[in-house]
């Protein structure tokens, strides 16, 4: 056991730090990525990173990465969050779909989709949930039927809560290809262009008023056979690989939380001088949040080592998702408690990142499979309790 990074890893960190310090826009200087203007500004930042090979460091070089390992990716993320660089508008693609493409995609699919994903030229959204299929994802009803020319599929139905859906160019979605099969077996995973005829997008304003997600309507949308990811009928297992990335190692790196926790301690230290009573009331919650973030960092290094040594991430991904989503909330709740009556200030040029962060964190226990579903997974697959 040795928790220190190697000299090469520290050299990689220095290189990343120099580049980010020279190139990252100042914290919170871009308009929100959930506006049309902000979306393009964030896309331009993705392109800037891609040009210097910093957008997807752990991908192979042929697809725009640096071919480094998972530990280097974690180091890059630490540096990325340290300078409070912009949120990743490409995150559904690079953190969720990409690991699934590497595992299940054909060579042709990888060559076609990965580089424009890495550069921000093509931003992806996720078409999974439906109005009547949220936690019960296997209950989806949107369907795909063979196209008359037998060279592809015609997709029909409705998806919802598609993050980045208002502006994205591409969508990865689950559709039912065999209505007669057992409900987990009749699904297929499709990659489709959002400008295909028959796609209608209805943006949904979120709790902060911005259109972070959207409803997607499909009316006989043609998707060619070469845009099926994995086998026809195996969509559930392909989707579970994506879900594993979403809950496990790749979507939420620990740096996001350790950095926020560090700023929380700054906020606490300021209040310890200016408003000692408020600081004293919040001290235990601040310390808890800091420790939760550090626990997540160490747990990630533990998991990363296991993966590097040939292990895999199973139901632990569900425990992981519960922990990071609750940690995010506990960090932001503690900050808002310190801010007290000023915590509600928002909008019209007010800069209140703690409230924005809190609103974002509120979604954590809901998306990527609610924490209630994750607790079922932990109970059934880690503790062996019977299915209900």
């Amino acid at each position: 056991m040795d928790l220190r990074f190697t000299d090469d890893q520290e050299a990689f960190r220095s290189e990343a730090r120099s580049w980010l310090e020279a190139n990252a826009p100042p914290p919170r200087s871009l308009p929100s990525l959930d506006t049309a203007e902000g979306f393009e500004a964030h896309r331009a930042w993705e392109q800037r990173m891609y040009d210097d090979r910093w957008s997807v460091v752990n991908w192979p070089e042929e697809f725009g990465g640096r071919g480094v390992g998972i530990v280097e990716w974690l180091i890059f993320e630490e540096e990325y969050w340290r300078v409070q660089a912009p949120l990743r508008v490409s995150q559904n693609g690079v953190f969720l779909l990409a690991p699934t493409l590497f595992e299940f995609g054909t060579d042709e699919q990888k060559r076609r989709f990965l580089p424009p994903m890495a550069s921000g030229a093509q931003i992806w959204c996720q078409g999974w949930s439906e109005p009547d299929a949220g936690s019960d994802l296997a209950g989806i009803r949107s369907r795909a039927e063979r196209a008359p020319g037998d060279d592809g599929w015609l997709l029909t139905g409705q998806k919802t809560w598609a993050s980045r859906g208002a502006f994205a160019e591409w969508c990865f979605g689950l559709f039912r290809t065999d209505p007669a099969a057992e409900r987990h077996r009749g699904l297929t995973y499709f990659l489709l262009a959002m400008d295909s005829p028959g796609v209608t997008v209805r943006p949904i304003p979120q709790i902060d008023g911005e259109t972070g997600f959207a409803e997607l309507f499909f009316d006989n949308v043609f998707v060619p056979d070469d845009q099926v990811l994995g086998q026809v009928g195996s969509g559930w297992s392909v989707a579970m690989a994506t879900a594993g990335s979403e809950r496990g190692l790749s979507l939420r790196s620990p740096a996001r939380y350790t950095e926020a926790a560090s700023r929380l301690v700054d906020l606490y230290a300021e209040h310890a001088t200016t408003d000692p009573a408020a600081a004293a009331r919040s001290a235990d919650a601040v310390a808890r949040a800091v420790i939760d973030a550090e626990a997540y960092r160490l747990a990630t290094l533990w998991t990363a080592t296991r993966v590097l040594e040939g292990g895999s991430v199973g139901p632990e991904a569900s425990a992981n998702k519960i922990h990071w989503s609750e940690t995010d909330l506990s960090i932001h709740r503690a900050a808002l408690a310190l801010l007290g009556p000023g915590a509600e200030h928002h909008g019209d040029g007010t800069d209140n990142p703690w409230l924005d962060g809190f609103l974002f964190a509120l979604a954590g226990p809901i998306y990527a499979g609610t924490n209630e579903i994750q607790r079922n997974v932990v109970a059934e697959r880690m503790l062996g309790l019977p299915r209900g």
Binding site: V265, A269, I291, E294, Y296, A319, V378, G388
Partner: protein, 345 residues
């Protein structure tokens, strides 16, 4: 960066688990409740395996290993609620004496490795309420104030008057002690004593945290086993979400306490920067994880868990005691925050 144990460390863990599963059953624990003892045949078995002398230098007959090698064994000792003083003797006394003067090392280390000495440690928070393992201990490590400020002493039982303090868990063998500091028992004084006492407190936090991990794991396992067997409304109660979510919540807390404890054990053994803070994080997370596992496992058992007959209480009581020992979660969280703020000043 490699955050995993070596094959050797895991094999040692497995060997000790196998022995403890046989030698420290709940029947043994019930016998220990009736007649608490510091040294037992089981302690001798652990000595034969090299466990009691794990941190004793090789030239004193030990294995010459460190707190990182010990942490998994401590976790196993927690899983069975081992009544003998492995934390006090092997995690605390041996490293302190190994760094003390020759005469103290010569007097105590070989007997520790041989299983002939059970230690009690009265250094650090909470000792005025009673020192764990003090009833029947052979060796006391105690703190006093001398001419140069803090002094640490290694005192033989013959020089200590121990007044038993009853505990809900009789195997804690609590006692308050009266003794007169003598020059020949001083193992450290002045600045050395202060840093040695800090080291004892940090090691105690990590070692106790490791036992709490094992206890939490055991309690969750007992409750999950029960939830699979117990039937109500025609179904195992473990099939109800209300029960699943209780146990899953406790399991998640345990899963995220474990790497903190292991990381703290590594940092302590290597004297890495921030080791003391990480030790406090370990004690805070493990105390909370075990307290939550105790609450949940009792609730899942229902009334049977509240009985003397059911084994669960043997683990609940130890978990509550250790969660409070060497500083509870709140105490360690305040240390963590204090040190972070200090670093910023």
């Amino acid at each position: 960066m490699r955050f995993a144990f070596s094959d050797q460390q895991l094999e040692f863990r497995d060997a000790v688990r196998q022995v403890l599963d046989k030698e420290c059953t709940t029947d043994h624990l019930r016998a220990a409740y009736a007649a608490p003892a510091a040294r037992t045949p089981r302690w001798a078995t652990l000595a034969d395996l090299g466990v009691t002398g794990l941190t004793v230098p090789e030239d004193h007959g030990g294995l010459g290993l460190d707190g990182l090698d010990l942490v998994l064994l401590l976790e196993e000792s927690g899983r069975v609620a081992l009544p003998e003083p492995l934390v006090e003797t092997t995690a605390l006394a041996a490293p302190l004496l190994a760094g003390a003067g020759r005469e103290h090392a010569d007097a105590w280390l070989a007997p520790i490795a041989g299983g002939g000495v059970a230690a009690a440690v009265g250094i650090g928070p909470g000792v005025t309420a009673g020192i764990a393992g003090a009833q029947g201990a052979d060796l006391f490590l105690l703190e006093a104030t001398g001419a140069d400020g803090t002094e640490l002493h290694a005192v033989p039982a013959s020089d200590v008057a121990a007044e038993p303090v009853p505990s809900l868990d009789p195997t804690r063998r609590l006692a308050t002690v009266r003794w007169d500091p003598r020059p020949d028992t001083v193992v450290a004084s002045g600045e050395d004593a202060r840093s040695a006492a800090d080291a004892v407190r940090a090691r105690a936090a990590v070692a106790t945290a490791a036992q709490l991990l094992g206890l939490a794991d055991r309690m969750i396992t007992l409750a999950a086993d029960y939830a699979r067997e117990r039937t109500q409304f025609g179904r195992p109660i473990g099939s109800f979400q209300a029960v699943k979510h209780l146990l899953a919540g406790a399991q998640v807390q345990l899963e995220f306490a474990r790497p903190v404890v292991y990381g703290a054990a590594w940092a302590g053994a290597r004297d890495a920067p921030g080791a003391a803070r990480l030790a406090s994080m370990a004690k805070a997370t493990a105390s909370d994880a075990a307290t939550e596992a105790a609450r949940v496992s009792l609730q899942v058992h229902g009334a049977i868990g509240y009985t003397w007959e059911c084994d669960l209480h043997l683990f609940l009581k130890r978990a509550w005691a250790l969660a409070a020992a060497w500083g509870d979660a709140g105490h360690h969280r305040s240390l963590v925050l204090g040190s972070l703020v200090e670093d910023r000043a």
